[in-house]
Symmetry: C2
Subunit: 522 residues, 2 copies
């Protein structure tokens, strides 16, 4: 498969990265024929995304088992299109075609997806999809009831499917967990991640201890209390919009675990949850808005294709954590905004200065819940999951031992121990959804974000823009370097093209040590 140089130069619209399409050519070419099939597969996928969104945000309690049948049928239809002999033939024929860069990328993704699916027997795939659809409900109830045993048998089944599927895809001698990791972030296998997490463990575990022993006390009790839900909702809406989430192309709803999903670049959906910790929903909304802005920024010519979403899980997480931490927890961010907060919550924040508020939302406090972790502890929460996933997949750890091991690791790395499973091993939806190998992306994303931030500070008055409320200037730079490309390029390639350097985790460690060293005088 050759990249057509004409398409790379003259035929790519320099303004938009989009190729000028010749409609006639499109319908009769080999690629055009392939595209018709992919369009069908994407429609099934979009329907599945909407059903999942609806399950998490709205569907009635008893709908589950019935709707699961529909999901099973749609998943099977998706798999059947993607692995049909016609698609396989067209993909082979594309090898000999002269394709544009965009077409090449779509063929590459389609081929990977086809191979991933073709190795799974359709009946197994369908049964698995139905299991997953059920399991998120079982997990939600188990978490509510703080009853890991009620979830364990389902989790066991999911792990067994995941291992089986990975074994189908594994190359000669490839480890199963490496197969899983590869599907979320290319080029980050256990060898690389052991090094990355090793570095974080070596540097951050002792640094966290120093911070905790610094004697510096930061007040944050005013972040908790009677923050009325409708006010929090209003604030969530305001902040999402303020950082660039466009509500003509997106919606926001409430779910147990905040998430972002998108039907296409003009329909991007985020969720949040409200509690009596105002900062919890506040930063979760900025985080999900970061994901959402990424999806909205993918160019029109890529959306609704196989390369129409974010480049990778890690790159996606880089954008959400960039927005949450590097923007949202930045003192400068609150200069134009804090007064509005005080006006909305005069009883709670009327007497609290902006400086106090910013310190409070950056307070380091090792805790039990990943999604509410402070920026410094965050990657240590991920470390726990990374080490447990390795054990579950590579060392056949019995799921029954998970709750205790989870607690032991938390104690070792973060110095805290969960008293309940709801606060421990049941807190995340990921395993219930069959996402193994996903968690490391969270830490990688934070590291990508820190590297981007270092580069941006050299090229623009970053904090000055925040102070003047011009977040759009920052979003624009991210859009130009990252968002618009979708999956056209791989994450490491994008990072390198933007910053001029390959991935370097030291930026992340330096960023954390500098920020929290200053705050805690260590």
């Amino acid at each position: 498969m050759e990249i057509n140089p004409a398409a790379q130069n003259g035929e790519i619209n320099p303004m938009t990265n989009c190729e000028q399409k010749n409609q006639k050519h499109k319908e009769t070419s080999v690629f055009g024929k392939l595209e018709k099939h992919l369009e069908q597969a994407m429609a099934y996928q979009t329907a599945l995304i909407l059903i999942e969104w609806d399950n998490e945000t709205l569907a009635p309690e008893q709908a589950g088992p019935y709707t699961a049948r529909v999901q099973g049928t749609l998943s099977a239809a998706y798999q059947s299109v993607m692995t049909s002999s016609e698609v396989q033939k067209l993909l082979r024929q594309c090898e000999a075609e002269s394709l544009s860069e965009q077409e090449c990328a779509i063929v590459r993704e389609a081929k990977e997806e086809m191979e991933r699916l073709a190795c799974i027997p359709p009946e197994e795939y369908r049964a698995y999809q139905e299991l997953v659809s059920e399991s998120t409900r079982i997990w939600a109830k188990a978490r509510e009831d703080d009853d890991f045993d009620a979830f364990a048998p389902t989790l066991e089944k999911i792990i067994s499917y995941q291992k089986k599927f990975a074994s189908y895809r594994a190359k000669e001698g490839q480890k199963l967990y490496d197969v899983m990791l590869d599907s979320y972030e290319k080029g980050f296998d256990m060898e690389k991640l052991n090094e990355f997490f090793g570095k974080l463990k070596e540097e951050l575990v002792p640094f966290l201890k120093k911070v905790m022993d610094s004697g510096v006390e930061i007040r944050d009790e005013f972040l908790t209390g009677a923050y009325p839900e409708e006010k929090q909702q209003e604030l969530a809406h305001f902040l999402a919009e303020y950082v660039g989430f466009d509500f003509t192309k997106g919606v926001m709803a409430v779910s147990a675990h905040p998430f972002t999903t998108s039907l296409h670049n003009h329909d991007v959906r985020i969720t949040t949850h409200y509690s009596d910790h105002v900062d919890s929903s506040l930063f979760s909304v900025i985080h999900e808005a970061g994901h959402g802005i990424y999806e909205m920024g993918v160019e029109d010519c890529l959306t609704q294709t196989l390369i129409g979403q974010g480049a990778s899980m890690g790159m996606h997480e880089s954008q959400s954590r960039f927005m949450e931490n590097i923007v949202g927890r930045n003192g400068a961010f609150w200069v134009p905004v804090y007064q509005k907060l005080q006006e909305m919550f005069p009883d709670q924040l009327g007497d609290i200065s902006r400086e106090q508020f910013v310190e409070a939302v950056n307070k380091v406090q090792p805790g039990l819940i990943r999604t509410e972790a402070d920026e410094l502890c965050y990657s240590l929460h991920v470390l726990v999951r990374y080490e447990l996933e390795k054990k579950l997949i590579e060392e056949d750890l019995d799921v029954k031992e998970l709750p205790k091991l989870w607690a032991d690791y938390y104690e070792k790395y973060l110095g805290v121990r969960p008293a309940t499973d709801a606060q421990g091993v049941l807190q995340d939806i990921h395993w219930a959804q069959g996402s193994f190998g996903y968690f490391p992306s969270y830490a990688l994303g934070s590291a990508f974000a820190a590297q981007m931030y270092a580069w941006m500070r050299e090229h623009m008055d970053f904090e000055g823009l925040l102070r003047s409320g011009d977040i759009q200037a920052i979003v624009k730079v991210l859009g130009e370097h990252i968002h618009k490309y979708g999956k056209l390029k791989e994450s490491r390639e994008l990072l390198k093209a933007m910053t001029g350097e390959d991935f370097d985790p030291d930026y992340y460690i330096r960023y954390l040590k500098e920020k929290y060293g200053t705050l805690y005088h260590v």
Copy 2:
């Protein structure tokens, strides 16, 4: 195709109407093979239903054109399954099989659907589905802007498609509008409906005039005013549940035009809208709950099949209007409930007696909006639409003339004339959705309901049950005679089996004259 007598007797579970299925037989029989294909088609249909629900209740403003592509693809996939040569072959093979009553009904529906779809070229069907998806948005904006001209070109296209599609299906000599009517209510063609509406016109137009000239003045100004939306919402939820809508199997949301939809019998969705007329949302919720209860009452063995929904549009409307008018506008209904209303709205209703309230919600007041019409005027609103649809389809009426004709007919039958198109021809979503031939079902439904009511009053202490708050006893009777059957039997058959008589519109006229004759002393 023969109905298997064994299945009719021994194999039908007498408690549930459901057949005992032999799983093995199911998979290898001709019908079992057909069922696999139908299951796939139903999954596409369910996805389309959810997308449409989402478009009407939540989707962001800019999503439309992109999501329409997905809808187009799913519709095409649905059509492709239903008209595939494999399904056509299996349907032919079923003719020679010994099938149960339930299987026969599914085959009958599938054959009709296949014939309906097979006559439409796939590209045309797809283009039409995309047009319809766009047109509801164009209609909503035109209504908002009171600008019929903005909608007219789209409406013209829809009518032209509808006529073309009807011409494909028309039997030798069959009129196009009769083809359309048949798809909503079998056995009610123009000849029958001219007679039905002729009778209503002859009896009700002069009776309405007598009522209006009676000199009786009913106070209802207290129904309008500052009824806070969140209180109305609470009331809507309470009333839906009170009449039997089960919120573990259903949800409620807000949309421009209230409607009911369902993914299956365990996921039924109703919408409402709130205004400063408290009775508007109140009775619209009871109405939609009536539809919803019908869908929830369909038996488990029928849901997610082609016969898993209400028997016909008219039968559906009979259940919603039964709940809205015969139950909800019944004085006895408010005996156990009115005090709660007074407690919720003490400023508005504290000094209003239950008798005053019941009179007010039954006040006859010819108006412009069908969905807010009183019970007596209601069928005259339908009459206007019936006569206009006949002109549009059978007499090639230019859509540009619609607004004026609409106004003229309202003046003639109801004595009121809309000043704006938003209050006139743009008020209903139906034509934007391509639903021609649907409106007559509303009037037929009211007539079915009146006939059921007459029968129920003979067999149970109807008003006594309402007074004691035992609506479930009424729902149970409707469930046993109507709901549980889904489309297993046709509407006229169900009505006859319940009441012992064929459809007789005189029940409806008698019911209205008796009720409003008493209220207005005429």
